[in-house]
């Protein structure tokens, strides 16, 4: 027990230390931009990992929730002049409601069928965003007003760095709290065996819906932040490829590992940026990474390295 809680607080502390020290290594705006994008993806992945890694479900539609949050904030601030800090929770609440309504029918599906169901959901979001030209600007996208804090508009990359860092640490903290609790054990039990979970008193449908909604709300918040950060939003954020990227990050980092999700997001966000020549082959690289992970490290990067470290320490 003590060791477990140390791994919890120890991991969170390491993350904070990395975040505090990282700006020393960032010497231009381009670097900051990459790290901010990593942070935004990491926020989504930590939430998605609760659904995929812990509860053992699959979603190929979470980019849909990200985009709904992004467009929710963009439309409320752009067309209706809402303050961004009201638009963000309002969008998140609406996305949570949508996820809750979708959850019951869609989460009855398992395996491939669930993958197809969530894929369809993501595609519907994409089509709606592309078609509603009056609200969303259609395929061309729409400009988004900046975030304001105490009346000042936020453009500076360093300020954004600290905003995203704070939200990431909070998300990781919430995820760790869920994992190390009766609810977290129920989620992992559902992953292990649904019949056994249900006869142990776990309301399987309710917990699946709960974690689906939580991961959707987190994706929505990340989407809202992204939209204000980038100042412009296009429907590709809702696209299938974005959903696949998110799943690949979770799988590479390590399913059922909260810090793995952060590492996975970091590697796969940075990789295409650093190897600029590879950009045309981005999906090829993602596919290869996904295949390689499944074959050589089915548990993902962070759990595999953690196990190696433990074996080494025991010697």
């Amino acid at each position: 027990m003590r060791r477990l809680s140390q791994a919890r607080t120890g991991g969170l502390l390491s993350l904070v230390i990395v975040i505090v020290l990282l700006p020393l290594a960032l010497d231009n705006i381009y670097h900051y931009d990459i790290v901010i994008r990593i942070g935004i993806n990491a926020i989504v992945c930590v939430g998605l990992n609760l659904f995929i890694g812990y509860a053992g479900q699959i979603s190929l539609g979470h980019a849909g929730f990200f985009a709904l949050g992004a467009y929710g904030s963009a439309i409320l601030t752009g067309h209706y002049s809402w303050p961004a800090w009201f638009a963000l929770p309002a969008s998140a609440a609406a996305v949570g409601m949508i996820a809750f309504v979708v959850a019951r029918p869609i989460l009855r599906l398992k395996g491939h069928y669930l993958a197809m169901g969530t894929l369809g959901m993501g595609i519907i979001v994409f089509i709606v965003i592309t078609q509603e030209v009056a609200l969303t600007g259609g395929p061309d996208g729409m400009p988004v007003p900046p975030l304001t804090i105490a009346g000042t508009e936020i453009y500076s990359e360093t300020t954004w760095y600290w905003i995203i860092a704070t939200v990431l640490v909070a998300t990781v903290w919430l995820a760790l709290n869920i994992v190390d609790s009766p609810i977290g054990r129920a989620l992992r039990a559902i992953h292990g065996s649904e019949p056994a979970s249900s006869v142990m008193g776990i309301n399987v449908a309710r917990y699946k819906a709960m974690v689906f909604v939580i991961s959707a709300v987190i994706a929505s918040v990340a989407g809202s932040l992204f939209t204000h950060y980038s100042g412009f939003i296009t429907p590709s954020e809702a696209g299938f490829l974005h959903s696949v990227e998110l799943v690949t990050m979770v799988v590479l980092g390590g399913m059922a590992s909260t810090f793995g999700a952060v590492v996975g997001a970091g590697l796969l966000t940075a990789l295409p940026q650093l190897l600029a020549t590879l950009r045309d082959y981005e999906m090829l690289v993602f596919g290869a990474v996904l295949m390689g992970t499944m074959i050589f490290m089915p548990h993902g990067l962070v759990p595999t390295i953690a196990a190696m470290f433990q074996r080494w320490r025991r010697k």
Binding site: M1, S5, G56, L174, N177, I178, D180, S181, P182, I183, G184, R185, A186, R188, A189, H191, G192, S193, P195, A196, S197, S198, V199, M200, G201, I202, N203, V204, M210, A256
Partner: protein
């Protein structure tokens, strides 16, 4: 008083009846065994009592309440717990966490308390872990507390499922072939364990093929054949029943 009353229970898959018009009662505080050849419908019966299958016809009453077709988690909350013939261990969790899941119904499952990690959650975790460790020693798994189920022998996994089921503090415990695949010594330990569980006031319904174990510990035995009741009684009555001898026990015994 009967804790469990089954009446006219039928389950058909397609045109095939796995259980047909079955009626029997289980008295509180007893060990009630269900025997029968493979395919007699024993596991199907367990799946209906624990809510995993809903019956095609008939009624199940538990503790005086009609619970026919109720969801498994509702029945678990009412005090019914079970193990599985084909293991349903959570292999993605450690052995002790498996048992902790059994405490689910008695734990703090408030989402807000969990998200902000109120001290009650950490306290509850520690308490659940302690009780799970106690239960593991109770079923003789004290040595496996820190182990992954993947590296535990089959017999130990069977007992891990019993510990998990007991963690729910059930009134009615359904054990599906707890001695299958065990050696005679391990079967003897399961025998003692089931007696211990009964003595603690839990009603046990046991599906088992090991006749020595069944005859030894059962207060009452129900014999199924092709989904129907063939005989019912205490061990002597069942043993002497010529139909049972013909259909199941065979010439050898």
């Amino acid at each position: 008083m009967s804790l469990l009353e089954v009446d006219g229970l039928t389950k058909s898959f397609g045109g095939l009846s796995a259980i047909e018009s079955l009626a029997f009662n289980v008295a509180e505080g007893q060990i009630h065994s269900i025997i029968g050849p493979n395919g007699a419908g024993k596991t199907t019966l367990f799946n209906m009592i624990s809510g995993l299958y809903s019956p095609s016809a008939g009624r199940i009453r538990y503790s005086g309440r009609d619970v026919t077709g109720a969801a498994p988690h509702m029945l678990a909350a009412a005090g019914i717990s079970r193990t599985f013939q084909n293991l349903q261990v959570f292999f993605n969790m450690s052995a002790i966490e498996n048992v902790m899941v059994g405490r689910h119904l008695h734990e703090n499952r408030n989402l807000f308390a969990t998200l902000v990690r109120l001290p009650a959650i950490a306290r509850g975790n520690a308490e659940a872990r302690e009780r799970a460790a106690d239960l593991m020693s109770y079923v003789g798994l004290g040595a496996y507390v820190r182990v992954d189920p993947g590296s535990m022998p089959y017999g130990a996994l069977k007992r891990l499922e019993i510990a998990r089921a007991l963690a729910a503090q059930p009134r009615l415990l359904l054990l599906d072939e707890p001695a299958a695949g065990l050696n005679p010594r391990e079967t003897g330990e399961i025998d003692q364990l089931i007696q211990k569980v009964k003595d603690s006031g839990v009603t046990v319904v046991l599906v088992e093929h090991d006749m020595k174990l069944v005859m030894n510990i059962s207060d009452r035995i129900l014999v199924l054949n092709y989904g129907r009741k063939l005989a019912e009684g205490d061990s002597d009555e069942v043993r002497r029943n010529p139909e049972v001898v013909a259909a199941y026990l065979g010439a050898g015994s």
